[in-house]
């Protein structure tokens, strides 16, 4: 019983006790009186009955006051104190007790308050430390991610199951080059968080490399790495270096938990080395035979008894062979320079990019206005752009400082296997000797100095530089010869990646290390830990059975509870049938956009690979699945993985809502809609909605794949058969 409820009980009991005592005392006194005394006392008493009642009431009042004060001191205040202390403990840590009641109670309250203060400061301290630790972990993570994205080498980190935990953009581009369907899936079917590395590399190769790693670890090798070279399906030559990922040092003996693959595409290096070998061969062995012929013939000429006709023949042999040798050496020299200059790591870049960068540097660092003149936009060059830009800027700077040149122009034109990079100015003529000294002095621009000279930079490029004059125009220019390169496909859509992803590309997820150890049966797996492919299709119409076809597929991946926008799939599809012009209002896709796009027979295999080993998620999945299933016979590809439908799941968590359209759900869930009604836009909204649904399902006790499917089946909407 609470102190509050006890009070009225105690009060009524004590009043009853006082009244009973008085009544029984009066009764005993009355019984003790004889008749006569009673007769005397009665009139006295009865005339004072009011007074007596008042006395009783007074007595009661005194009793009530005493009892109440006792109750307050013994029960009510300690009770309240206990409750308040409980509040501090559980809900309101900042609350403090108000010292009331007896001196002891007050002292107790103050002690409790000091405990609370102490607890607060401890907690703050702990929070601060946690915050600091989190911050530094986050910082390290960012540093690592930044480092990874800057690396010019491909890096892929896998756990022991061969699942990809981390990769950089370079790796993504490289895998794209290896893809069977690079235009369609963009390599996304090969690389992605949680995907298996064995789709790219033979399992045995990795297993073998892992074994040799383990071996080296046991032998405590200084650098436990394993190397291998392999060819990919597309015929590329890859050199891979495998390094171990070990458990932290504190956990006793360090064991292998995964591996890092550093990949180099050496197809080109290999080709150029082979070419170099052939050249070397033709120079040495090719010339040995010729030299033998010459030497033998020359030695024959020493004989005095030689007939004139024979002498003539030997001379001819010498002349012919020497000519042939000269020709061979010329050819080799030309071919050799092409391969020799690959030794300094020059990068191939679009000439216009180099010129644009040179213009920016010149303008910002020398304050000389720069104009462009005749820049060949199709030209590719092979340069060490850092040193080359420095050389151009240095020359421009000296022109402005020493010859007061007020404007320079840049020109880039092709000239066979070289390119001409010209730095042009008009005005004062300068001597060639002056230029020679510029070329040989260490470069200096303002405060920045370099140990390199322009000559060093030129030699690094196996190029040349000279001063040339255009007398008719009263201009002069530095002509720098730099090697040109074969035009290549630009290292694709890096820009696109950054647009699509958020501030940082979502290429890493360390939590996957722990995931792989759990079971593989999807049914009993938690929704929060599964990998999903959220997708959407745009179609020519609503009836696949009447010939409507898919015209676009968009998809993205959810790995470890996060939508990985950078691992997206988006592809237009030629439906091979007429597209109703009205339908463009819905999806914004016109017939012209579909011309030349791949057909569904090419796109579905890529999408199938993209979605492999994941759970499919779509809004009104039944619709999209019907389109996919109608293609099963033609493509031989079955989409037989589990499917979840956000429409059905929304009905599970909000059975009383009228609308379960994607827009309506997104609005309810606070998902911001962008780019709807493109397949990828809708897939992304579906993914965001799905991520919000997962915790709401959990509140209803629906946590595993099986539970979600069963709940979805029970909803009204589930009567639509897949």
């Amino acid at each position: 019983m609470s102190p509050k409820a006890r009070l009225p009980v105690a009060l009524s009991l004590s009043i009853a006790f006082v009244v009973a005592m008085l009544v029984s005392a009066a009764y005993l006194v009355w019984q003790d009186l004889d008749q006569l005394e009673k007769a005397v006392v009665q009139p006295i008493l009865s005339s004072r009955s009011g007074l007596m009642v008042a006395a009783v009431v007074l007595a009661c009042a005194v009793v009530v006051m005493v009892v109440k004060s006792l109750h307050d001191g013994l029960f009510a205040l300690p009770g309240k104190l206990a409750e308040d202390a409980q509040l501090i403990l559980s809900t309101e840590p900042s609350r403090r007790l108000e010292p009331v009641g007896s001196a002891d109670l007050k002292a107790l309250s103050r002690t409790i308050n000091s405990f609370a203060d102490q607890r607060d400061s401890l907690r703050k301290d702990v929070e601060l430390r946690v915050q600091e630790a989190k911050h530094s972990v986050e910082e390290e993570k960012n540093r690592l991610a930044a480092l990874m994205s800057e690396l010019t080498q491909s890096v892929v980190v896998c756990n022991l199951d061969g699942r990809i935990l981390l990769y950089n953009n370079r790796a993504r581009l490289q895998f794209k080059a290896m893809s069977d369907a690079p235009q369609v899936a963009g390599g996304g079917e090969l690389i992605g968080l949680g995907r298996s590395i064995y789709t790219v590399f033979e399992r045995n190769l990795i297993v073998h490399a892992l074994e040799s790693l383990q071996h080296r670890l046991r032998k405590s090798a200084a650098q436990p790495v394993a190397n291998f070279v392999t060819t990919t399906r597309a015929g590329q030559l890859l050199r891979a270096q495998m390094a171990p990922v070990l458990t932290a040092r504190e956990e006793g003996e360090r064991s292998l938990t995964g591996f890092i693959l550093m990949l180099d595409n050496i197809t080109r290096t290999f080709e150029s080395e082979t070419r170099r070998d052939q050249l070397l061969h033709s120079i040495t062995e090719g010339n040995r035979a010729a030299l033998a012929n010459v030497r033998a013939a020359a030695e024959m000429l020493d004989y005095d008894d030689l007939e004139p006709a024979l002498r003539l023949r030997f001379r001819k042999v010498i002349k012919d062979e020497v000519n042939a040798m000269s020709k061979r050496i010329d050819e080799a020299a030309t071919a050799f320079t092409d391969t020799v200059k690959t030794r300094w790591p020059l990068e191939e870049m679009l000439g216009t990019d180099l010129i644009a960068a040179a213009r920016r540097q010149l303008e910002s660092r020398t304050k000389v206005p720069v104009k462009l003149e005749d820049v060949d936009e199709a030209l590719w060059v092979r340069v060490d752009s850092f040193s080359m830009l420095m050389a151009v800027t240095y020359l421009g700077n000296r022109l402005s400082e020493e010859f007061e040149v007020r404007e320079v122009r840049l020109r880039l034109t092709g000239a066979g296997r070289m390119a001409h990079l010209d730095l042009i100015w008009s005005g004062q003529a300068m001597s060639t000797e002056t230029v020679m000294t510029w070329e040989l002095e260490p470069m200096r621009i303002g405060d920045e100095t370099s140990p390199l000279t322009v000559r060093d930079v030129i030699e690094r490029h196996d190029g040349e530089i000279w001063l040339e004059r255009e007398k008719t125009k009263h201009r002069a220019f530095f002509r720098i010869l730099i090697p040109s390169a074969m035009p290549q496909q630009e290292l694709e859509n890096e820009a696109e990646t950054y647009l699509r992803g958020e501030s940082r590309p979502e290429y890493y997820d360390f939590d996957l290390f722990s995931v792989s150890e759990k079971g593989h049966a999807l049914d009993d797996r938690l929704l929060s830990e599964l990998t999903f492919t959220v997708f959407d299709t745009e179609t020519t119409g609503l009836n696949p059975s009447e010939g409507d076809e898919i015209i676009q597929i968009g998809a993205s991946r959810i790995v470890n509870g996060k939508l990985r926008r950078s691992e997206s799939f988006e592809q237009l599809v030629d439906p091979c049938r007429r597209l109703a012009p009205e339908s463009a209002q819905i999806h914004g896709i016109t017939a012209e956009m579909l011309v030349g796009q791949p057909k569904i027979g090419e796109v579905l295999p890529a999408f199938h690979a993209f979605a492999a080993d994941t759970v499919l998620v779509a809004h009104n999945a039944a619709f999209d699945m019907r389109f996919l299933q109608l293609k099963e016979a033609a493509t031989g590809l079955k989409f037989d993985q589990p499917v979840l439908d956000t429409l059905l799941l929304s009905a599970v968590i909000h059975p009383n809502q009228e609308s379960h359209r994607l827009e309506a759900i997104a609005e309810r869930m606070g998902v911001h809609i962008i780019g709807r009604h493109t397949a990828l836009g809708d897939a992304i909204v579906t993914g965001e909605v799905f991520l919000k649904i997962i915790p709401l399902l959990a509140e209803k006790g629906i946590r595993t794949m099986r539970e979600a499917r069963e709940a979805a089946e029970k909803t009204y909407y589930a009567r639509i058969k897949y």
């Binding site: 062995e285 040995r288 035979a289 012929n293 030497r295 030695e299 024959m300 004989y303 030997f314 062979e321």
Partner: protein
Amino acid sequence: MTKKILIADDEVNIVISLEFLMKREGFEVVLAADGEEAITKIREEKPDLVLLDVMMPRKTGFEVCQELRSDPAMQDLKILMLTAKGRDTEVAKGMALGADAYMTKPFSTHELVERVKSLLGLAE
């Protein structure tokens, strides 16, 4: 008795010198322009020594050498291999296949004559 030498090489420009040189040293000279011709001519003409170039059409010098050494009738034939390949692995191969001597192009004609003479037991 005049010793007979067969020169097997497809390069006319060396054959002309070798032929002149060998004739001048008093040998009888037979020519073959490829590996198969070399084998036929060796069987017909039974030379005492053959100057065998490694790189020849139809059959390489290695093949010719191997085929000759597998024939018991050819055990006395001296084989001097000539090659433009300077690698020691090839010298080893030639010797392993049964060549008596090996000379790498370019060689001194004077040394060649000495080697030929010593192989034929005519050394001064």
